[in-house]
C-alpha cells in the first residue's frame, strides 16, 4: 500500500515543479501581465507596444511616470474641471456658503446646494476616472488607487465631501512612488484626514475652549474638549505597523496625546487655504511613554517624531510589503518576496519606488502561477473594460453607477480600512451576474457615455432601441486582449450569435481576472 501513495506524491511534486520552472511565459503573456498589474489592462495595440519596448523597459518607465508625457486631450480635459483644480480652501468656501444658505433657506437654496455639491463630487470622480482610463502613466494611477485606499477617507462624511479632491491631489498623488514618510506626513496633516478620523477635535484633557476666541469655528470649539483616540489607533493599526504588532491600549492613548493640537479650522481653511494648524493650546504638554520611548513635551515635534518612528519601523516595512505583494502578485503573497521587499524598504528608508522595483523584477511576480490569479476588484473590472473597448467617454456617470452596483462606489468606502482586493472579498454569485449585466450594456452601446452630464437617467437597463453608442466589435476586443481570453472561451464565443460576442468577451470568466 505504501508504494502507490509515495508514487502519487512524487508525481504531484514533479508536475508542480514542472509548472513552476518549465513553462516560461510567452512574450505576449508577459506583456499582458505587466499591463494587467502595473495598469488597468490593455488598450488596443498596448500588448504590441509593450512587446516592442520590452517588458523590463516598460516596467522601468512606469516607475518614472514624470518621464511619460500625458496626451494633450487628457490634459485639456483635466484642465476644464474647475472644482477639481481649485484649492481645498476655495472648494470648502463654496461648500460652506451653500450649506449655510440651504440650512436656513428654501427649496431653491437646497437645490443650489445639491448642484454645487454634485458638481464637486462629479468633477473629482471624472478626474480620477479619466486618468485611470487614459493616462499612459498607468502605474501612477494604480498607486493612487492603492494609497488612497490604504489611507482611506470616506467622501460622504460632512466637510470631506468638499475636501476629498484636494486630499487625493495634494496628499496622495505627489507621493505615490516617493518616500513613505512624506506620504504619511501629508495624509496626517490634510484636513480631510484630520476631519475623518476626528483628530481635529482632539485636545489635551485639561483644555478648555474659550467661548469667544476670534476666528475659531463655533462648532469645533464646542466639541473639542478632550482626547480622541480614533486617528491614533488607525494610524498604527492600518496606516503603519499593522494590527497585532505589539502595541497596547496605552500606546494608542499616548500617541493620541502626542497628536493633540494637530488640527485645522474650517473658516481659516476657507478664507486663507490654511490646510493645517498646530494649536499649541490644545496640545497635551505632559510627558508620554510610547512604544518604549520616553517623549518629553515638544509640541508638534512629538507627532513628527511619532511619524518618523512609525514610518521606519520593521513592522511597517512588513505590513506595507505584504499589502503591496497582495495587491500586485497573489492574495496570499509568497513570504520570501515579502521578506525581500521589507528588507529593501528598510535599506532605502521607505522608498516606495525601490520596493516596487524589487517586486516587479522578482521571479514571483513573473511566475506562471501569478498570471490571471487575481480576481479584479469592481474598479479594476470597470476601468479595464472601458480601456479595452476604447469608446469615447465624456460622461462618467454610467461608470460610477456600475461601481455602486458592484459594491465599490468611488470614494465610498465608509471605514478607514478601505476596500479589500482579494477574491474572497469580491467573488460572489450575484457579483458575476451584475458584471455580466454591465458588460452587456457596455458592449451593446447602451450606456450614455458620450452624453453631456445631466441628460441620462438610469439608462443602464434601457432597451437596445435607444442605443447611445455604436456597439463594440468582438474581433477588435479579442485582438486587444490577446492571451487574456483563452482558446476555449474564444471557441464558445464564436459558437454564439455575432451580436452577443462582444458582451461575452467582457463578461467572460477570463476577463474577470487579471
Amino acid at each position: 500500500m505504501k508504494l502507490p501513495i509515495r508514487f502519487a506524491v512524487l508525481t504531484l511534486l514533479s508536475v508542480s515543479a514542472l509548472a513552476a520552472t518549465a513553462a516560461p511565459l510567452s512574450s505576449d503573456q508577459q506583456a499582458l501581465h505587466v499591463l494587467d498589474r502595473l495598469g488597468y489592462g490593455p488598450k488596443p495595440g498596448d500588448i504590441d507596444r509593450v512587446k516592442h519596448m520590452g517588458v523590463e523597459r516598460y516596467i522601468d518607465s512606469q516607475l518614472q511616470p514624470e518621464s511619460i508625457p500625458l496626451p494633450a486631450a487628457l490634459s485639456q480635459r483635466l484642465s476644464t474641471l474647475d472644482a477639481s483644480n481649485a484649492s481645498a480652501g476655495e472648494v470648502l468656501s463654496e461648500f460652506l456658503a451653500v450649506r449655510k444658505v440651504a440650512n436656513d433657506g428654501d427649496d431653491a437654496a437646497k437645490q443650489k446646494r445639491r448642484e454645487v455639491v454634485g458638481k464637486i463630487v462629479e468633477q473629482n470622480a471624472e478626474a480620477r476616472i479619466a486618468r485611470a482610463i487614459d493616462s499612459p502613466r498607468q502605474l501612477e494611477e494604480v498607486m493612487v488607487d492603492f494609497w488612497f485606499n490604504h489611507f482611506n477617507v470616506y467622501g460622504g462624511k460632512g466637510l470631506d465631501r468638499a475636501l476629498i479632491g484636494s486630499y487625493e491631489r495634494d496628499a496622495i498623488r505627489p507621493y505615490v512612488l516617493g518616500s513613505f514618510r512624506d506620504l504619511l506626513g501629508a495624509t496626517a496633516k490634510h484636513p480631510a484626514m484630520l476631519f475623518y478620523l476626528d483628530n481635529w477635535l482632539s485636545t489635551g484633557n485639561d483644555y478648555q475652549a474659550r467661548p469667544f476666541r476670534k476666528g475659531a469655528a463655533q462648532g469645533q470649539k464646542a466639541k473639542a474638549t478632550g482626547l480622541n483616540e480614533n486617528y491614533a489607533r488607525e494610524l498604527m493599526e492600518l496606516h503603519t505597523l499593522g494590527v497585532d504588532t505589539g502595541y497596547t491600549q496605552k500606546d494608542v492613548t499616548e500617541l493620541a496625546r502626542m497628536l493633540t493640537g494637530w488640527s485645522f479650522e474650517p473658516r481659516e481653511l476657507a478664507r486663507n487655504n490654511r490646510t493645517f494648524r498646530f494649536d499649541a493650546q490644545r496640545h497635551d504638554m505632559g510627558d508620554k511613554e510610547w512604544l518604549g520611548h520616553h517623549v518629553g513635551a515638544q509640541g508638534q515635534g512629538e507627532g513628527e517624531f511619532a511619524l518618523d518612528v512609525l514610518a521606519m519601523h520593521p513592522a511597517t516595512a512588513r505590513h506595507l510589503s505584504y499589502q503591496l505583494a497582495q495587491y500586485f502578485v497573489l492574495d496570499n503573497p509568497p513570504p520570501q518576496l515579502v521578506e525581500r521587499m521589507s528588507k529593501r524598504y528598510l535599506e532605502t528608508k521607505g522608498n516606495i519606488r525601490e520596493v516596487l522595483r524589487t517586486l516587479f523584477h522578482s521571479p514571483e511576480f513573473m511566475a506562471a502561477g501569478a498570471v490571471g490569479a487575481k480576481f479584479k476588484t469592481p474598479y479594476q473590472y470597470v476601468i479595464s473594460a472601458a480601456r479595452a473597448g476604447q469608446m469615447p467617454i465624456t460622461n462618467v456617470r454610467p461608470l460610477l453607477g456600475a461601481l455602486n452596483q458592484l459594491g465599490m462606489p468611488l470614494y465610498g468606502a465608509q471605514t478607514p480600512d478601505g476596500y479589500k482586493n482579494t477574491e474572497a472579498a469580491w467573488l460572489n454569485p450575484d457579483a458575476l451576474a451584475r458584471r455580466i449585466t454591465f458588460a452587456t450594456a457596455l458592449a451593446a452601446g447602451r450606456l450614455p457615455l458620450n452624453k453631456a452630464a445631466g441628460q441620462d437617467n438610469n439608462v443602464a437597463n434601457a432597451p437596445a432601441a435607444t442605443a447611445a453608442e455604436p456597439p463594440l466589435d468582438a474581433k477588435t476586443l479579442l485582438n486587444t486582449l490577446g492571451p487574456a481570453i483563452s482558446a476555449k472561451t474564444r471557441a464558445t464565443i464564436n459558437n454564439n450569435p455575432a451580436a452577443l460576442r462582444a458582451a461575452m468577451v467582457l463578461g467572460s470568466p477570463d476577463f474577470m481576472q487579471r
Binding site: 473639542a224 494590527v243 467573488l427 460572489n428 451576474a433 470568466p509
Partner: protein, 413 residues
C-alpha cells in the same frame, strides 16, 4: 426598461404565469420545509455600537457621572430612556420595540462579547464572524458552518445576505446568496433573456474557478424572482414603502422569507456606529441610526407573521465603547456590549447577563465593560435550543467553545 408590473402583465398575456405552479411545487417539498421551519436572522452592527446607550443602566449613579452630556436622561424626563426593569432603560429611538418587550419576545444580554481583547474593529468583526476569537486562520464563517450541519437540503437561497458583498460570516463551502439591498435585489437580470442566458451558461460551465459561483447565482436569482413576484401579486394593495434603508429591506426580507420556505438563515449588516464624536443622547447621531434599526426589526417581526414564532433574530456588534464619554461628545473603542434577541421562543422582557456595574473597580482597564458572557454562549443557545443542533454539531460550528453558561436561559426550551 421593463418593470415588474409590466412583466407580470406580459406573462399573464402569454399564459406563462408561473406563480401558482411555484406555489404547488413548494407544497410538494413537505420534508424540506419542515427541516427549514426554524429561522435565524443575524443583524450585525458594524463599527461597535454604544451598547451603554442602547440598554442604559440609568439605575447606576455612575452612568450619569461618566456621561454628563451623552447619557440618556432618566425615564419620564424629556428624551429619557424607556424603562425596562427599573434599572436598565431602552434608548428612546427604539420605542418601536417596546411592544415586543412587553410581549416578552425581546431580551438583551448585557456585558457580552468576544473574549479576545482586541479593540480593532476589523479583527473584532473577523472573530465575531468566524466564530473563533483569537484565531485568524479560520477560513469560513460560523453561519456557513451552521449551514453544513442543519438538516434538510442545501440550496443557494437557504442562507441569504442583504448587501452587495458576501459577508465573512457566510463564507465557506455551503452555498449562500447575497442580494442587493432595495428594489435592485429582485430586479430582472440580463441573464433572464434566454439567448443571453444560454450563451453565458455555456461559457461559465467550462470555468474551473467560477462555474459554481455562476450557477449558484443563476439558481438563487430564479428562486428569489419567483418569491418576490408572488409577493407582488399578494401585496398589490399593500401599504406605501417605508421611508429609508433598513425598514424597507426588513419588509422585503420578511416577504421573501414568507414566500420562499427554503430561506432559513438571513444576515444583514448595518454600518455607521463608530461614534467617536458628537454621538448625541436621546437625540442626535446615534438616535438617528437606532430609529430605523428599531423600526426595521419591528417591521421584520410583524412582516413574518406567524413565522415569527419560529424565528430568532440576533443583533450583535464587534465590541462596546468606553463607559466614559470622551472630550468630543463621543466614545472610543471599548469591550463588553449588549446583544439583542427577538423571537417567538425568546423568554423576553428581561435583561440577561452577569452585570457588574459601572464603578471604577468594575470597569475593565478602567474604561469599559468587562465581557462576562462570551458571544458564542448566546449563539450556541440559539443553535441548540432553537435550531436543535446536537452537541457534536455545535462543536463543528463553534470549535473550542467555553463551557456552557448555566445561568443563561433566554430561550424557552
Amino acid at each position: 426598461m421593463m418593470d415588474r408590473r409590466n412583466l407580470l402583465k406580459l406573462m399573464a398575456l402569454t399564459g406563462s404565469l408561473v406563480i401558482p405552479v411555484g406555489r404547488q411545487a413548494w407544497a410538494a417539498v413537505g420534508d424540506d420545509s419542515q427541516a427549514t421551519r426554524r429561522k435565524l436572522v443575524v443583524v450585525m452592527l458594524r463599527g461597535a455600537v454604544d451598547g451603554l446607550n442602547v440598554v442604559a443602566p440609568y439605575g447606576d449613579a455612575n452612568y450619569a457621572r461618566l456621561r454628563p452630556t451623552i447619557g440618556l436622561a432618566r425615564p419620564g424626563q424629556d428624551g429619557g430612556a424607556l424603562d425596562l426593569d427599573g434599572y436598565f432603560g431602552l434608548h428612546p429611538a427604539l420605542a418601536s420595540l417596546q411592544a415586543l418587550w412587553e410581549q416578552k419576545k425581546l431580551a438583551f444580554i448585557h456585558a457580552s462579547g468576544s473574549p479576545d481583547a482586541t479593540r480593532s474593529h476589523f479583527d473584532a468583526q473577523d472573530y465575531l464572524e468566524s466564530g473563533t476569537p483569537g484565531r485568524k486562520s479560520t477560513q469560513d464563517g460560523w453561519l456557513n458552518r451552521l449551514l453544513t450541519v442543519l438538516p434538510g437540503t442545501a440550496t443557494p437561497t437557504r442562507a441569504i445576505s442583504i448587501g452587495p458583498l458576501m459577508p465573512r460570516i457566510l463564507g465557506g463551502r455551503a452555498p449562500a446568496t447575497n442580494l442587493a439591498a432595495g428594489a435592485a435585489g429582485t430586479k430582472q437580470s440580463i441573464l433572464d433573456r434566454p439567448q443571453i442566458g444560454s450563451a453565458f451558461d455555456q461559457m461559465y460551465q467550462g470555468s474551473d474557478k467560477y462555474a459554481s459561483a455562476y450557477q449558484d447565482g443563476r439558481d438563487a436569482h430564479k428562486e428569489i424572482m419567483t418569491a418576490s413576484m408572488q409577493d407582488e401579486m399578494q401585496a398589490a394593495n399593500g401599504g406605501a414603502p417605508l421611508p429609508n434603508g433598513f425598514p424597507n429591506d426588513a419588509a422585503h426580507l420578511a416577504k421573501l422569507m414568507r414566500n420562499d420556505p427554503k430561506i432559513q438563515i438571513a444576515f444583514v449588516a448595518l454600518g455607521g456606529w463608530d461614534t467617536h464624536a458628537n454621538q448625541g443622547n436621546g437625540k442626535g447621531q446615534l438616535a438617528n441610526r437606532l430609529a430605523p434599526l428599531g423600526q426595521g426589526l419591528a417591521t421584520l417581526a410583524q412582516g413574518l407573521g406567524p413565522m415569527f414564532d419560529d424565528t430568532t433574530i440576533v443583533v450583535m456588534s464587534e465590541f462596546g465603547r468606553t463607559a466614559r464619554q470622551n472630550g468630543n461628545g463621543g466614545t472610543d473603542h471599548g469591550h463588553g456590549n449588549v446583544m439583542w434577541v427577538l423571537g417567538g421562543g425568546v423568554a423576553g422582557g428581561k435583561v440577561y447577563g452577569d452585570w457588574q456595574g459601572l464603578g471604577e473597580a468594575q470597569l475593565h482597564e478602567g474604561r469599559d465593560l468587562p465581557v462576562t458572557t462570551d458571544f458564542r454562549s448566546v449563539l450556541a443557545q440559539v443553535s441548540e435550543r432553537h435550531l436543535r443542533l446536537s452537541d457534536q454539531q455545535l462543536v463543528q460550528v463553534f470549535p473550542a467553545m467555553p463551557a456552557a453558561n448555566p445561568g443563561l436561559n433566554f430561550l424557552r426550551s
